[in-house]
Amino acid sequence: MQVIENLKVKEKVYIEKLNNGLTVMIIPKEGIKKKYIIWGTHYGSNDSKFIVPGENEVTEVPKGVAHFLEHKMFEQENGRNSLDVLSSLGVNANAFTTNTHTAYLYEATDNFYEALDEFMDYVQHPYFTDENVEKEKGIIGQEIMMYDDYPEWKVYLNALEAMYHNHPVKLDITGTIETISHIDKDILYKCYNTFYNPSNMCLVVCGDFEPKEILKEIENRLIEKKPEGEIKRIYENEDESIVKPRVESKMEVSIPLFTIGIKCIPPKQKEKVKTHIAIEILLNMIAGESSKLYQDLYKSGVILNMPSFEYEFTDDYAYILVSGASRNPDEFLEKFNQEIENYIKNGINEEDFERTKKMIYGEYVKEYNNVSDIARMFLNDFMKGVNSFDYIEEISTIDIEYAKQVLIDNFTTEKQVFSVVKSN
């Protein structure tokens, strides 16, 4: 097993790639009662067009299959639902689907190994019937409608639609009521067999474990499978330009919501972590709590809360989102852009830069406070091709020059979109 130790947060990660291709990561946490396990497949809502290893033809499936599969994985041939079985063991089980991956997880204080039997069994044994697939359409339909009532979701999705011409990242993870109506059990099996191969998966555990022991327990529960070749994922060509600079929707909200989206060039492998850190520092300097922008706009009543920042990237897309609520979203946008211009023209203040770096350092340390956050972070970063420890290691190497370059390369107004949701 490969061991990586981080002396700053005083944590270790043990990494093993098994013969079947599965990557296992173990982060021991002595003295913590909760144990957390998460098993992810590199298969998300973006992956609806692909070539199955060994085939030549392109397979295209309806939007929303990854999420549908996630719901249906719990159903077992013996008529039981694994979520019920895990729940009866007193463990807290769940699953989720993102644009890039699907993950199954549970958190336990007792009965961890009994739950592990069920957990590893159900993820490895799908059971789909015409009947159980049909039934799920009603439940997922209600989930889709629940999201329709969230203005935060609308403002976010609109921003992505305004940024991307073709890339599926702009679509709802759940699919739509129309697309899911075309899903049947054969489609589910095909996607399962393609994407749930161990070589396309990663399992992370965090808790009071002896690494060798837990690795053995995991290995004992794996069914025999051979690693498969590369899955060719097909995304339509995506131009660097945006679709449209502005998009507005009407919904009942007490105060307008906004999202500024900036479409970026995906960072090169070696620059991923450093770019991410630099963008976090920059966003906090420009619009964070102590920034002039935020303080001025707060005092004039334009915004009432700190906007939230996000930088999302994969190998084939990257974007920045700045979201918040404002009585006058356009004024926020205007001031935000003025401030970026100001930073490019006049440079970055060193004192503010160093102070913000300290703050981000603290943020990274806090991420090691609980087992679920740690395990989820390691899985998420693995899917992006990075190691979570790199953030805390690389931050000291980011200087003003580097940050300035990242600013110039990424904060381009021509690739900026503005999404607003407000009442009639």
Binding site: S88, L89, M145, Y298, L304
Partner: protein, 422 residues
């Protein structure tokens, strides 16, 4: 510590952070609820040492991103003003020389107990801006439709009672509050409220009592006979007829909330086990993935994505909620009522009980793995005049049997059906 001010320390080496919390508790009343909301907002704007929010933020960023938070909670019949600072433990800082714990207590006590004032009042500008801000927060209560539906159901059930108040107050009450009279109110509050200070983190080799007691702002606080309500549920008169409320808003999905009363006698309520029996009842009804509601409303009838219940011990209620198609209102309410009825008939197995018990015990065991969760648990104990340790808590839950749950089920009576639709 002085009378009425209590220090609670939780020494734990599970975290990278120290969490310091200061809670001010007073009886929840219509008269004060809006003032309290405004007060928490104003205090975070500036204090004597750091006069602006910008100075506070810069100071916190300098402390490796120490995080200040404030909020309000309704705990039974009390309103709790909550203030937190979370900071990195010295052990994980690049420079070890900092005394982050001391610095954190200092900045927190400064914000809460030493506010910026002018002419015997709060800063005018801050007061006016925060009045706008609180107004906005109050108006935003409709933004999250599911949460709004639950709040509205509670409001209908507790008309003109403290339990039914909105924790951020009322827009019409803001009008009469100004920088001067709010400051007068603040001084009164600080002198009379119950103050609980929690410090959680790696505290060995630290004389935490001394650190807190000698803090300049805490040392200035007076002794008090704290005014607060000891939380316990009250006896409920049986409802003659259920109250039906329908409200229209621009929603895609209907949000159904049914509020039930637990019509228990005084003696039953005072039984220490009442709370734990209620928790088990709720877990079986709608608290887990194997629960009756989840199984019947979601899995079998495919009517909902969310279908669950919650037990409110302080008010003595069970709330059932589900997000459903508007036209399925009748169907869903029927299924829900059937589940309540099935519980009354004792139609649940020993296995159901054991499953529910495991989920609850597991949650209890996990409490000390989260700093804030552990603090809030002990605050709840403090405000209900109890001191049940986590170990005892788990033992109480172990001890509940089927008869007790069945008896509890028989006391559940429908109070209000609330439906938010388009």
């Amino acid at each position: 510590m002085k009378q009425g001010i209590k220090l609670h320390t939780i020494n734990t080496n599970k975290f990278k952070t120290n969490l310091i919390a200061m809670f001010l508790s007073i009886p929840l009343t219509r008269e004060n609820v809006t003032k309290n909301a405004l007060l928490t907002s104003i205090l975070r704007r500036g204090c004597q040492k750091y006069k602006t929010q910008e100075e506070i933020s810069k100071r916190l960023e300098e402390m490796y991103g120490a995080e200040f938070n404030c909020g309000l909670d309704k705990l039974g019949k009390n309103h709790v003003l909550k203030f937190y600072v979370e900071s990195i433990n010295d052990e994980f800082l690049p420079e070890m020389k900092e005394n982050m714990l001391k610095q954190s207590i200092e900045i927190l006590s400064e914000i809460v107990f030493n506010p910026l004032t002018e002419n015997n009042g709060f800063n005018e500008e801050y007061t006016n801006q925060e009045k706008e801000n609180v107004k906005q927060i109050i108006e935003a209560k409709k933004d999250n439709k599911a949460r709004y539906a639950l709040f509205r159901c509670v409001e209908e059930m507790f008309k003109d009672k403290p339990e039914g108040l909105y924790k951020y107050g009322y827009v019409e009450d803001l009008e009469n509050i100004n920088a001067k009279n709010l400051y007068e109110y603040y001084k009164e509050l600080i002198d009379s409220c119950k103050i609980d200070i929690f410090v959680s983190g790696k505290l060995e080799n630290t004389n935490i009592e001394q650190l807190v007691e000698q803090d300049e702002n805490i040392a200035k606080l007076k002794e008090r006979e704290p005014k607060f309500n000891i939380n316990k549920p009250e006896e409920k008169a049986p409802m003659q007829q259920a109250n039906n409320v329908e409200e229209k808003l621009d929603v895609t999905q209907g949000k159904l909330v049914i509020g039930y009363d637990v019509e228990a006698s005084k003696q039953e309520i005072e039984n220490e086990k009442f709370r734990y029996i209620g928790m088990l009842y709720n877990a079986i009804l709608g608290g887990t993935a194997t629960s009756k509601l989840f199984q019947n409303v979601r899995e079998k009838a495919s009517l909902a994505y969310t279908a669950s219940s919650s037990f409110s011990y302080y008010t003595g209620n069970i709330f059932v909620n589900a997000g459903i198609e508007i036209e399925n209102f009748e169907k869903a309410t029927d299924i829900i009522k059937d589940q309540i009825e099935a519980m009354k008939q004792g139609d649940f197995s020993d296995e159901d009980i054991e499953n529910a018990r495991k989920v609850i015990i597991s949650n209890i065991e996990g409490i000390s793995d989260e700093q804030d969760t552990e603090i809030i648990y002990f605050l709840g104990q403090e405000l209900s005049g109890r001191n049940v340790s986590l170990k005892q808590y788990a033992e109480f839950v172990q001890d509940v049997n089927k008869n007790e749950i069945e008896d509890f089920a028989k006391k559940i009576n429908i109070n209000t059906v609330y439906f938010l639709r388009n």
